[in-house]
């Protein structure tokens, strides 16, 4: 299948590249161009009881560029969270998403903010994808009032009502029936929206998944169940926990699709396909073949049940950000330097957000101790002082 439209002129552009870089001549495609590009996914989709979507994905330069920027932000955020945890500023549980960014970003590209997303505890990036800010993430992780849940939830409890992000759940698999309920509400109010219920390969063995699938299929609920298969349920490999690790097939009567979860365009295509399908035919399962670089959580080194070679191998061959970087460079949408600048900017944004979140919010302390605002309190103090000094 033909790659981008500019394939024929790529030869010319390669010659012009150093010249254009030096002279800052406008490129064939600028990074904010919305001119459609068609790019093929690196792997085909594998389907179960449905027709697989085409491998050619419609995208644009600006979309690819935004993919890079957003994924870089997520990656940087997770790495920073790692450092904060080791510095004991984040406590309790902290489950990091680096390596899996393509799933969050690809999904957002295919849907609207009216569609609902619900996920488990590896939710920092999903929250960002749904419009959360870096300040809200770091605030929440460090237990500050500026956090997304006012510091009351923690790492596993990010929510964003205005963009239909329903969390953020600590108990494995418990979000699946909730997701079914979201889809039920969508069907009840006859909205043309869908619910993406994300769960992991560990949760795929929960009974409530099958109960929810049964109900969703019974009532044709617009629910899309997405199994983020990173191949390890904490420390247990998928083949040690599941008799049948083909999670996209386990819905039996529910159609399924296996997707390369490290390819953001494949994820986008699959989610777009799923949304169209769910509105017409009811639930389906998407299995995203993805990988997490960190351990299950910060208390898990991640190397006792898998080899370091495996981790670095995936990082070299399948890293989602590197893929997009290569695409951007190959299609001449951005230069190496520009991409490095973005990464620098992202680093700065993350550091700024952390610095802002670290500031202890004094207002919170005053409010909880004294039942009035600071000005009133100071006024009372002032007059009390005057009163006692006059008395003397």
């Amino acid at each position: 299948m033909a790659l981008s439209r500019i394939a024929s002129s790529s030869h010319a552009s390669t010659l012009l590249k150093p010249l254009s870089a030096a002279l800052s001549i406008r490129r064939l495609i600028s990074s904010d161009s919305t001119v459609p590009l068609t790019i093929e996914t690196s792997l085909p989709f594998i389907s179960h009881k449905c027709d697989a979507p085409p491998r050619a994905v419609d995208t644009s330069a600006s979309e690819l560029f935004s993919f890079f920027r957003d994924m870089a932000t997520m990656r940087r955020m997770e790495i920073a969270a790692d450092s904060l945890y080791k510095a004991k500023l984040i406590r309790g549980f902290c489950h990091l998403y680096d390596g899996q960014e393509a799933v969050a970003i690809g999904m957002e590209a295919a849907i609207t903010k009216k569609d609902a997303i619900i996920t488990a505890y590896r939710d920092h990036c999903t929250f960002i994808g749904r419009g959360g800010t870096l300040l809200e993430v770091f605030g929440e992780l460090m237990g500050r009032i500026c956090g997304g849940s006012k510091g009351k939830g923690g790492s596993m409890h990010f929510y964003r009502k205005q963009t239909n992000f329903f969390g953020g759940h600590g108990i494995v698999g418990a979000q699946i029936p909730l997701g079914c309920g979201l889809a039920f509400a969508q069907r009840y109010s006859k909205e043309e929206n869908v619910t993406f219920t994300l769960y992991g390969d560990g949760a795929a063995n929960q009974g409530q998944l099958f109960e929810a699938l049964n109900m969703a299929a019974l009532w044709d609920l617009p629910a899309i169940l997405v199994c983020e298969n990173n191949h390890y349920g904490m420390g247990t490999a998928e083949w040690r926990a599941a008799k049948n690790p083909a999670y996209y097939k386990r819905g039996d009567y529910v159609p399924g699709l296996k997707v390369d979860g490290m390819d953001v365009l494949a994820v986008k295509q699959a989610c777009k396909f799923a949304k169209e399908n769910a509105l017409k035919n009811g639930p389906l399962i998407l299995e995203m073949d993805t990988y997490r670089y960190h351990g299950h959580s910060m208390s898990d080194p991640g190397s006792t049940y898998r080899t370091r070679d495996e981790i670095s191998g995936v990082r070299q061959e399948r890293d989602p950000i590197e893929r997009v970087r290569k695409l951007l460079l190959a299609h001449d949408i951005a230069s190496e330097k520009e991409l490095k600048d973005i990464e620098k900017q992202v680093r700065k944004d993350v550091d700024d957000a952390i610095a802002k979140a670290k500031v202890k919010n004094k207002k919170y302390i005053v409010q909880s101790a004294i039942p009035c605002d600071r000005r009133t309190w100071l006024t009372i103090l002032f007059f009390t002082f005057i009163f006692f000094s006059i008395r003397k």
Partner: protein
Amino acid sequence: MATLFQGLPSSTAFSSSNKFNHAPAPTSFSGTWNNERKSSIVTVRSDARWSPVLNSATHKPQRLITNAVATKADSSLASTSSKPGHELLLFEALREGLEEEMERDPCVCVMGEDVGHYGGSYKVTKGLATKFGDLRVLDTPIAENSFTGMGIGAAMTGLRPIIEGMNMGFLLLAFNQISNNCGMLHYTSGGQFKIPAVIRGPGGVGRQLGAEHSQRLESYFQSIPGIQMVACSTPYNAKGLMKAAIRSENPVILFEHVLLYNLKDRIPDEEYVLSLEEAEMVRPGEHVTILTYSRMRYHVMQAAKTLVNKGYDPEVIDIRSLKPFDLHTIGKSVKKTHRVLIVEECMRTGGIGASLTAAITENFNDDLDAPIVCLSSQDVPTPYAGTLEEWTVVQPAQIVTAVEQLCQ
């Protein structure tokens, strides 16, 4: 004394903007359990160690009335207004409340096993599926964990589901959803999501239903932060509490009782909603405060007749609100009578009575002339055999004996 007591809205009429302080009065459960008891009172309490002396004392020549479910309208129990209304059975009152709320608000829906076409295993939802459709009165598969979760997820978006457990005991399978999601999502989301769901169903000891179908879930659910619990006992309060629970922005668990569904009484024709946090004064009195709820109310009223004949004047309060306790009404009563007897159907260990005893001791210790006596069911699985089952639950004769001992 009552340093932590927070005044709860009890005497004000129900208002639609009744805000639930989602950090309910911590007085209910904080504080230590008072283990010091006078030995003379201990023997009265229903517990696994059943002394033979007590047995013979209660096996009086007269026939023990164990079936204390009122089968005819008893005017002394009527807590309704004296206005002419219409007569109906308790399950019909629940249905009436449900139907009125479903008509009033299209977001109200019901889900549960056999609630739709079958009409409900206790006929509470009979006819509603025909009227409102299969989506609004949803027959679910037998999957308590997931349909409860589904209801909670729907509630997060603004729907107001009423989740029915065919028997409260089955909701043990949904405990995770009820505790972690229903109870806590409002808090963990920093207030973003409200869960206006109602979880209801029959519980309690029935007529030889066996151990698994005779459970008292209020014991287990009472610790869940973020939920409210109410128990209905008459057609009047059943309808009022059902409506209040549906209108509440908080998750409410409404406990019904298997043996009370066929209670007949007169209720007002005009619309009324009761307060979820109020206790009901069943019979004012002077000598002793008897706190009870659900089916035990009838055992208490039976005992009250005997007590009145013997010259005692018990004050009977149906606490109705199991979480939070209406410490305002209870406190007023304790300050008047200075003696408290709690009669409950929960097990001895960790039941509503246990928490109520702690709450009263903590708040009104100075007003008590005698230690609180709590009559509960025995800490055993409910036997199938009828005679054994009778003895695991508190009987009117035991209540009479307890009051006599307390008022010495």
